[in-house]
Amino acid sequence: MKNQTARLIIVCLFGLYCSVSGAAEKKTIGWVEPISIDGGKFTFLAKIDTGADGLSINAQDVRQFEKNGQNWVSFIITNGKGREHLIMKPIISYVRVKRKEMKSERRPVIMMDVCLDQHHSEEKVNLVNRGNYKYQGLIGRRFLEGHFLVDSEITNTTKPKCKF
């Protein structure tokens, strides 16, 4: 019995230690931050959106084609400063986005390695065409979870520096 209590206390303390240290490791970032893709080859600004679940990027000139019996997509990302980057990826699925008083939109989903500050992971990314949107990416909770806290007062406080 005594032994069990001791074990329980140890488990509790450990749990407390983990949750405290876990919280301390989260880095505070702004609501706009630069992210890089394609192994750090291209960097652009993304909105850090705790109201969104997933990730999306603003894709121009989206073309779907077939390659070895698989559906692929090619598109261009701009960085808002005149630089462009061409990407070609297999389509892994589609998402249907309901739109008020408009036909619902079918967006291709691809896998892409995304880097913010020192954190990177391979993520499902929706391709959207927002035209002249101010931020070329939107990063939702799935990518941020466990790594970042978001401060609504600050922007552009980090640089993507991931080790691939």
Binding site: K26, T28, W31, K47, I48, D49, T50, G51, A52, K98, R99, K100, R130, L138, G140, R141, L144, E145, G146, F148, L149, V150, D151, S152, E153
Partner: protein, 146 residues
């Protein structure tokens, strides 16, 4: 001097006492600048020369039988874009946001777009200098208790 910031999750129970809304589940949304309430039957009128707005809230998600009538002074009308990029002219009110240990006044716009899953969105302007959002957490300020 650094202000003490409150860390909140991406969903929280908050209170808007001046509107009679004691428990409302809000999405804490750094993707939105303005806060907004999902209001029904929004109706502007004048009371002693002051521009006012009356509206109805269904404070409980997925329950349209509970109704709260609210009124507030209009401080502005503003064109706001929703997440789909649609522009809408909305009334803006100022009201007290109350959390367990603190409160401050926030601007809130009223919309009746029915695609909103949450009754309230808390945007960046209301959070600036006061809140950090932990995207992994929910209900750090406590769960609804009555």
């Amino acid at each position: 001097m650094t202000k003490k910031m409150i860390t909140v999750g991406w969903r929280e129970w908050v209170s808007l006492p001046e509107l009679g809304l004691t428990h409302i589940k809000a999405k804490i949304d750094t993707g939105a600048k303005t806060s907004c309430l999902h209001a029904f039957e929004v109706d502007a009128y004048t009371e002693n020369g002051v521009d006012m707005v009356r509206f109805i809230m269904h404070p409980v998600q997925k329950n349209t039988e509970i109704i709260q009538e609210c009124k507030a002074r209009i401080i502005d009308q503003r064109e706001v874009s929703d997440s789909g990029g649609h522009k809408e002219l909305r009334y803006v009110i100022m009201t007290e946001l109350k959390l367990p240990d603190t409160s401050w006044d926030i601007e809130v716009t009223l919309t009746n777009r029915d695609t909103m899953a949450f009754r309230m969105l808390l945007g960046r302007a209301a959070m600036e200098g006061r809140m950090l959002v932990d995207p992994k957490a929910s209900f750090l300020l406590g769960t609804k208790t009555e």
